[in-house]
Symmetry: C2
Subunit: 349 residues, 2 copies
C-alpha cells in the first residue's frame, strides 16, 4: 500500500521534508475521553491490547483529532513475557504485575519463545486491521520493549522505581541475565518481524530503563542486545527496508554509541538539548524528541512558543521527528496537544 504522508519515512532517511513529522509517545491513551470510554467497556487494559478491533480503534483515535504524521500500534511492551507464560495483569491504578518472575537460569531455560503466529497473533491481526483502516494516510509504527527493559519487569515481577532486583542480577548473576536477554533477542526479533510482515512501516525499541545502568553496563546489557535485534532485522531481506528507532530514556550520555547501533533514528528525552545531541552525532542518524510532557499543562501559547524554540534551535537540518521526551501524561489538556501539532506544521505556511 502506498503511503501518502511520507514525512516520517523521509526524516528517518535524512531526506528534506516540507515540515518535520510529528507524533507523540502514548498518543493513544488516557488523556482522550474516547479512549477512557473504550477502556471502561473493555474492562481491563490487557483486553484492549488483545482484542484486535479495539486495539485498532484506539490506535486511530488520536489520528481523528490531530494532524499527526504517524500512527503507533496500541499495545504494551510486556506482551512478549506475557506470551512466555509469566501471567501479566494490570491492577487498577497500579502498574503491571507478573504472576511469576525470573530468578534462576532454570527459570530462563523454561521460557518458551512465543510463536507470533499463535500466542501473539492478536498483534498481527491488529496491525492488519489498522492498515486497512489507515489506507495509506500515514505510516504505522510497530514496537517492542528493549530486552533489558523487558527483563527488568520479568526479574522484578512488577514496575519499580529503580529496578534494583534486575540491576543486582547484572552484578550477582550476569550469566542468568545474559541468557534471559539472549532469549529476548530471539523473541523480539520474531515479534517485530511478525509486525513488519503484517504491515508496520517503522519499528521502535523502547528502552525505558537503559538509563538505570552505568555507561559500561548500558553497553553490555542494553545496547548490545538492541544492536543484535537491529542487525537481525537489517540482515533479513523481508525486514531490511524498515527503519528502526531506538529510545533509551535517561541514557543520552551514551548517544555516540547508540548512533553506531545501525538504527535509523534515536529517541531523545526532555532532559537534554536537541541541539547538543545533534552536535554530538552530526548527520549520521535521525533524532526524535524531545518536548517536556509537562509543558502540555501550560497554555496553547506557551506550547507553541516551546515548539518554535525547538525548531529554531534545530535549524534547517534534515532528520528531525518532533515528539515528546516521554509518554503523554494522563490529564493533559487536549487543546495543548492540538497546539503542539499545529505549531509543528505551521512552519510550512
Amino acid at each position: 500500500m502506498k503511503i501518502k504522508n511520507t514525512r516520517l519515512l523521509q526524516a528517518l532517511k535524512l531526506e528534506p521534508v516540507d515540515v518535520p513529522p510529528v507524533w507523540l509517545m502514548r498518543q493513544a491513551g488516557r488523556y482522550l475521553p474516547e479512549y477512557r470510554e473504550l477502556r471502561t467497556k473493555a474492562k481491563n487494559f490487557l483486553n484492549l491490547c488483545q482484542t484486535p478491533e479495539l486495539a485498532m480503534e484506539v490506535t486511530l483515535q488520536p489520528l481523528k483529532r490531530f494532524d499527526l504524521d504517524a500512527a503507533i500500534l496500541f499495545s504494551d511492551i510486556l506482551t512478549i513475557p506475557h506470551a512466555m507464560g509469566l501471567g501479566l495483569s494490570f491492577q487498577e491504578g497500579e502498574g503491571p504485575q507478573f504472576a511469576k518472575r525470573i530468578e534462576t537460569i532454570k527459570d530462563v531455560e523454561a521460557l518458551p519463545i512465543p510463536d507470533t503466529e499463535n500466542a501473539l497473533n492478536y498483534v498481527v491481526q491488529a496491525v492488519q486491521l489498522i492498515q486497512q483502516e489507515l489506507n495509506g494516510r500515514v505510516p504505522l509504527i510497530g514496537f517492542a520493549g528493549s530486552p533489558w527493559t523487558v527483563a527488568c519487569y520479568m526479574i522484578e515481577g512488577s514496575g519499580h522505581k529503580n529496578f534494583i532486583t534486575a540491576r543486582k542480577m547484572a552484578y550477582q548473576a550476569p550469566e542468568v541475565l545474559h541468557a534471559l536477554l539472549t532469549k529476548l533477542v530471539v523473541a523480539t526479533t520474531q515479534y517485530l518481524k511478525g509486525q513488519i510482515l503484517a504491515g508496520v512501516n517503522v519499528v521502535m525499541l523502547f528502552d525505558t530503563w537503559g538509563g538505570l545502568l552505568t555507561p559500561d553496563y548500558y553497553q553490555r546489557f542494553s545496547l548490545s542486545y538492541m544492536k543484535q535485534i537491529v542487525a537481525n532485522l537489517k540482515a533479513d531481506p523481508q525486514t531490511a527496508h524498515i527503519p528502526i528507532i531506538l529510545f533509551s530514556k535517561g541514557a543520552s550520555v551514551n548517544l555516540e554509541a547508540m548512533a553506531q547501533s545501525g538504527a535509523n533514528g534515536l529517541g531523545i528525552d526532555w532532559t537534554v538539548s536537541m541541539r547538543d545531541m545533534r552536535a554530538r552525532v552530526g548527520n549520521k542518524v535521525c533524532l526524535q524528541g524531545n518536548l517536556d510532557p509537562a509543558v502540555l499543562f501550560s497554555t496553547p501559547q506557551i506550547v507553541q512558543a516551546t515548539v518554535r524554540q525547538l525548531l529554531d534551535e534545530w535549524g534547517a537540518h534534515p532528520g528531525l521527528i518532533v515528539n515528546l521526551g516521554h509518554g503523554i501524561e494522563q490529564h493533559t489538556p487536549i487543546e495543548n496537544v492540538e497546539a503542539l501539532v499545529e505549531a509543528v506544521h505551521e512552519v510550512k505556511r
Copy 2:
C-alpha cells in the same frame, strides 16, 4: 576542634591527599542491623531524626564498623517543610507524606520561615552531640535538600516517580513555584548556617530531582536557587570557610553550569563516567562519586575491582571523593561495604 582526618577537606580544596577520602550516601541506614534495632525502638523514622541522642548514635554507627573519612548527620531533607507546618509523616514501607500540600501563592505566603533555634533545634543539638563524640576523628557533613527537590515533595504532597504535579507548576504557575523556591532559599540558608554554627565541617545540598527538568528549567528552577544558597553562605564570614557540595542526580548534562555555581564539590551519579565528567570541568571543582549502589550486591572481589577501575581511570588528579552514585540500598551485604572502603584506602599501602 582540630580534625585529625583531613582527607575530605583537602580533596574539597583540590589539595593532594595520601589516599582519596571515602564516605557513602546513606551510610547510616537500614542495611546495618544496629540501625534497624534502634529504628524499631524509636517506633518511627521521624522520632529517630528528632531525638538528638538517637540521631547521634545512628550517625556514628557506620564509623564504628568502617574506616570512613567522614560522618554525615543523620536527618532528612524534609525537616524544613515539616518545621514549616506541613505535617510530615512516614508510613511503614511507604515514602514521606505531608498532611498539607502547596498549591497556590496563598499557601506559599502562609508558610513561616522556621526558626533554627526552635523548630529545628533538634538538628543543632544532634550536631553538637555528634561532634563531642567524634572528637575530631573525621569531619562531619551537614546537609539540606535543594529548594527544587524539597518543593517537589511540598507540591506533590508525597514522593512520586516523576513529580508531575511539581513539574506542571513550573509551566502553569511559575510565579508560585518561584515564590516557594525563594522562601526555601531563606529557610535553607538559615538552616545550614545553624548546622555550621553548631559544628558541621562541610555542607551538602541534595538535589535528588533536578534531573527531572529540561536543561533550561534545571538552571531556572533548581541550579539558580542552589547558587543563591551557596552565595549566601560564602558571603557570611561565619560560614564562608565551610566547603559546599552540590548533588543533582540525573542532571550531569548540566555539569559545566554546576561547576560555575561557587560550590567546592559536585556529586556525580553512577550513570556517567567520572573520567568524562572530570574532562568536562577540568580542575575547577572536586568531584564526588560514583559507584553503582547495585555493585554492592556482588562479591568483595568484584567490589574491589570496580573501585580499582574507578581509581585507575581517575589517575593522579586531586579533587576526588569516592562515594556511591546514590544512597546505599537497604539489603546491601555489609562485607561488600567493608571491601569498598578497604579498596579505596589500599592504594596507600
